[in-house]
Symmetry: C2
Subunit: 205 residues, 2 copies
DNA sequence: ATATAATTTAACCAAATGGTTAACAAAAGT
DNA sequence: ACTTTTGTTAACCATTTGGTTAAATTATAT
């Protein structure tokens, strides 16, 4: 009795399996056979649909990148008051990542392995992040005197670090602090409000 | 003309090469041949000194882990006022990592690939982190009224996230913000003072 | 029904890769 | 001097792995 999900096309099954295997083991550690097994099909079928490992990996990587990067850029370019922007970024970002907790480490690791591939593949399609606008907005708030003097770049690093890192270090934190899935999830939920509060307390005058 | 560093034993050359290759490509992506080439020796020599890939990897991984984890624990267990602890943690930790910027991602990634190996190998030697003391210290400060009400665990996550994440995401940040090595380094130097200031501003009453 | 196209599989292949062996060279011990 | 131990190498081996092929099966069209 093979447990094939019904109403799922073969291509979908392969993609689902590939995501599982690639995200868990990385490009180098993933095996085409593992992907085929996970999908419950013959290995040659994987090649039939996606030609080779690199192509299949490209699809999965782009899927992951497209789940993570546009959200960041949205915030950068949105027309919103600074504090509200920070709040919305945390809530929306954590909401996405909480359902895919292993994506950030996967993407960061693959970028690290081959930054050029990343640069070319991820941003050839015009969605190149433009943090300038966000940085300028911070400078404006400083001049207005609504927030303390702080390097806009440092503030940006802080915001992203606080939001993403706990997911990157999820297994470490869980082992170190003895947290099960539910506890971890709950703590991340808390952070949706905790991070904005923390940041705003730090910069508000 | 083979460029062998003088006064370096073969074993040292292998370890240095292995570190380079493992940290850059990860356990799965590293090739014994690459390590031999990087060390400028025959592949069999690598096996002569370290038997197999897993053993050699173990040495490199432990070396990396021992550079990163004890520092964290030191701060947890030290007898210091909270604010001073935070300051010293940032300064000391960034000082270490700035010279080995790729270690955190390497270690986190390998932990992610096999959390059990990590648990057993890294903490079998009694240096298991004990964050309890640090968390209690935070609670005490809250009751004393010197800092705002905040979940001690969240504050701990914030401290570590702010300190480590920029290194984990180094290639991404560099590509995104167009930073060369010197600029990146300089920004990390700034963070030694920026992070404590940011945190203390956020929690001080 | 039957031809045609799309899908799926078992068997196979070549290259890559971790690891071994046997011979050789250098150092150290006697 | 020569024996033994240690270090080093080229050649080799077995397994893994990405990828191919040809045949079989299923779906689609006529």
């Amino acid at each position: 009795m093979v447990k094939r999900e019904k109403d799922q096309t073969t291509e979908e099954r392969i993609l689902k399996a590939a995501k599982q295997v690639f995200v868990r083991k990385g490009m180098a550690g993933a095996r085409m056979q593992d992907i085929a097994d996970e999908a419950g099909i013959n290995k040659a079928l994987v090649h039939y649909y996606f030609r080779n490992k690199e192509k299949l990996f490209g699809v999965i990587f782009m899927e992951a990148a497209n789940k993570l990067f546009p959200k960041i850029n949205e915030i950068f370019t949105a027309e919103l008051p600074l504090f509200e922007k920070i709040e919305r970024f945390c809530v929306e970002y954590i909401t996405v990542v909480i359902e895919n907790p292993y994506l950030p480490l996967f993407v960061l690791n693959e970028i690290n392995q081959d930054p050029e591939y990343f640069l070319q593949k991820v941003w050839s399609g015009r969605s190149r992040p433009q943090p300038e606008k966000f940085l300028q907005q911070i400078e404006r708030e400083i001049k207005k005197g609504t927030i303390k003097r702080i390097s806009p770049l440092q503030l940006l690093l802080n915001l992203i670090s606080l939001t993403i890192f706990p997911f990157v270090a999820k297994p470490m934190f869980q082992k170190n602090l003895g947290l099960d899935e539910l506890q971890f999830r709950s703590i991340m939920e808390q952070r949706k409000k905790e991070i904005p509060k923390f940041i705003i307390d730090a910069i508000k005058k």
